[in-house]
């Protein structure tokens, strides 16, 4: 009998505390920070958000643009050229992903904690991967257009760097998460770091590595589509010139084809992912 009484007393005590703690005193510094954040939000909305009038004025223009876009261009000569450009886009994405993944593997190994053969050097490779990741792909594309010239080569190199930024990190995490115990066993047998990588770490991390690669491929296809906007090859180039020359029928055909390609590739990678499971 005493247990419920004790617990109800405890409950009362808890409620009492809650009443006191419901209105916490805000320290002056926190208050100042809140006011500052509020001011920043209001100022930002005022500067960059669309005003209701602008939205209102924009609606007829959207319909106007759609009117000029439809129907999409179906001229066979144009469709053939577009087809080649789409193929080039896919080539950029696939070649870039494959090279990126191949380069990511050693970089991930060197940067993975405990698994890396470099006892203290791993932060160097982690930093390199972070650098690749934090600079946006369009900026890399601009850099490569300047260094290797306009066209698909610059696009492929952009995808390579972008893929290393993505896979380098997630490969390293997958390696770090791989099963510890067999690694200790191999260490005890006298295996080298490289043997441990090949015999335990890679087989164990393989499903995760394949998954990451498929995501990287999806990502590469999406970004290879826009790389042409800055002159790095692919369908984006065609899209940009269509907009520049006010050829909106062509633009809509290109946008539709991009949509279909991305959808198909996502469907394929989804199927492959299910296979890996």
């Amino acid at each position: 009998m005493s247990a419920p009484i004790a617990s109800s007393q405890k409950l009362q005590k808890a409620q009492k505390i809650e009443i006191y703690s419901r209105f916490p005193r805000i320290p002056a510094l926190h208050f100042a920070v809140y006011v500052g954040l509020g001011a920043l939000l209001i100022a930002s909305i005022g500067q960059v958000s669309p005003s209701p009038e602008r939205l209102w004025d924009g609606i007829p223009r959207i319909f106007n643009l759609m009117d000029r876009m439809l129907p999409p261009e179906t001229d066979p000569a144009f469709l053939v050229r577009m087809g080649w450009r789409l193929l080039e886009t896919l080539q950029i994405a696939i070649a870039g992903t494959v090279f990126g993944v191949i380069l990511s593997l050693p970089i991930a190994w060197l940067s993975a904690r405990r698994i890396s053969p470099l006892p203290f050097g791993s932060f160097l490779f982690k930093g390199l991967v972070s650098l690749f990741r934090t600079i946006p792909d369009l900026v890399w594309a601009l850099i490569f257009v300047v260094t290797v010239g306009l066209g698909a080569v610059a696009g492929t190199m952009t995808i390579v760097v972008d893929t290393i930024g993505f896979c380098g990190r997630f490969f390293a995490e997958a390696m770090e998460d791989s099963d510890q115990e067999p690694q200790v066993a191999l260490d005890a047998i006298g295996a080298s770091k490289f043997s441990i990588l090949m015999s335990v770490v890679l087989p164990d991390a393989m499903p995760s590595l394949i998954n990451t690669t498929l995501f990287a491929l999806e990502k590469a296809i999406r970004s290879s589509v826009v790389l042409g906007l800055v002159g790095a090859g692919g369908i984006g180039q065609e899209l940009k010139s269509a907009f520049d020359l006010f050829q909106y029928h062509k633009a809509s055909a290109i946008i539709l084809s991009i949509f279909v390609i991305v959808l198909i590739m996502e469907w394929i990678t989804d199927r492959l992912r299910e296979k890996v499971k």
Binding site: P182, I189, G190
Partner: protein, 272 residues
């Protein structure tokens, strides 16, 4: 002959192994007993050099093990096989590949990359699996086996290392009595037929008494007893396990994991 002299391993303030000196002649089967945290595991890890000693030396047949580096260290580790409580197999790989991993220290960069093994090594692996009665499961994934089967695969892996010493760290602590018996029988036959020195950490006193030529008892990082099994008296046991609260002392059958029936009914499974 394994000579351990004044070995010490400290983790911060803790003396995991404190001034241990032991001489273990080749071919002995030695049971190391003691409470959890007494330093048994650390002692084995020091011998294999998975852990480096704070001070002291370990030497084997005149070679100073504590000073080995690089390739020599890896070859020492290869000749000093280790078996773990959790088996530590590569669960996604098949049994045969797991056993072949035991040869890895003898392979160079390229062949370990391609995981290529010679026909002799494959034959060696099959013979080792045969000795522990696991040939039929050779192509099964290691992760699908029971704990006892996995530990036998681990023993086969140790065998293909051609070890001079076998270190077993609580090899039967996660196994049921029948499998525990089978694993201990395997270790003893390897010790007797191949003349390999076996050091085995055990939680169960009666197992140590039954299987080992010699018992080393540790407490708080120090060796409290070092002698034949029959010399280990109840007073000493009480000292080692330090059961202040237990009035009746330690009943060995309570902690026992062995069953007599298992060893006789599995005679056909036993190691040749």
């Amino acid at each position: 002959m394994l000579q351990i002299s004044k070995i010490r391993k400290t983790f911060g303030e803790l003396h995991a192994v404190n001034n241990v000196t032991l001489n273990i002649p080749s071919g002995q089967m030695v049971g190391v007993i003691g409470r959890s945290g007494a330093g048994k595991s650390t002692l084995l890890r020091l011998i294999n050099r998975l852990a480096d000693p704070t001070s002291g030396t370990i030497s084997f047949d005149g070679t100073n093990v504590t000073e080995l580096k690089g390739r020599d260290l890896r070859l020492w580790r290869a000749s000093c096989a280790m078996i773990f409580q959790q088996f530590n197999l590569i669960e996604r790989m098949d049994v045969l590949s797991n056993v072949l991993v035991g040869r890895i220290a003898h392979h160079d960069f390229v062949s370990s990359m391609l995981r290529q093994y010679t026909d002799e090594e494959r034959a060696l692996a099959i013979r080792a699996l045969d000795r522990v009665g696991m040939v039929q499961q050779a192509l099964q994934r290691a992760g699908t086996l029971s704990g006892g089967q996995q530990q036998r695969v681990a023993i086969a892996k140790a065998l293909v290392q051609n070890p001079k010493i076998l270190l077993a760290d609580e090899p039967i602590a996660s196994l049921d009595p029948a499998n525990a018996t089978r694993v201990m029988d395997s270790l003893r036959t390897i010790n007797q037929n191949d003349g390999i020195t076996v050091l085995v950490n055990l939680h169960t006193l009666d197992t140590a008494r039954k299987y080992c030529d010699r018992i080393i008892a540790m407490r708080a990082g120090e060796v409290r007893f070092n002698g034949a099994a029959h010399e280990l008296s109840n007073d000493l046991v009480r000292d080692i396990y330090g059961e202040a609260g237990l009035e009746t002392g330690i009943d060995e059958s309570v902690t026992s994991t062995s069953i007599e029936e298992a060893s006789s009914s599995n005679d056909n499974q036993q190691i040749a």
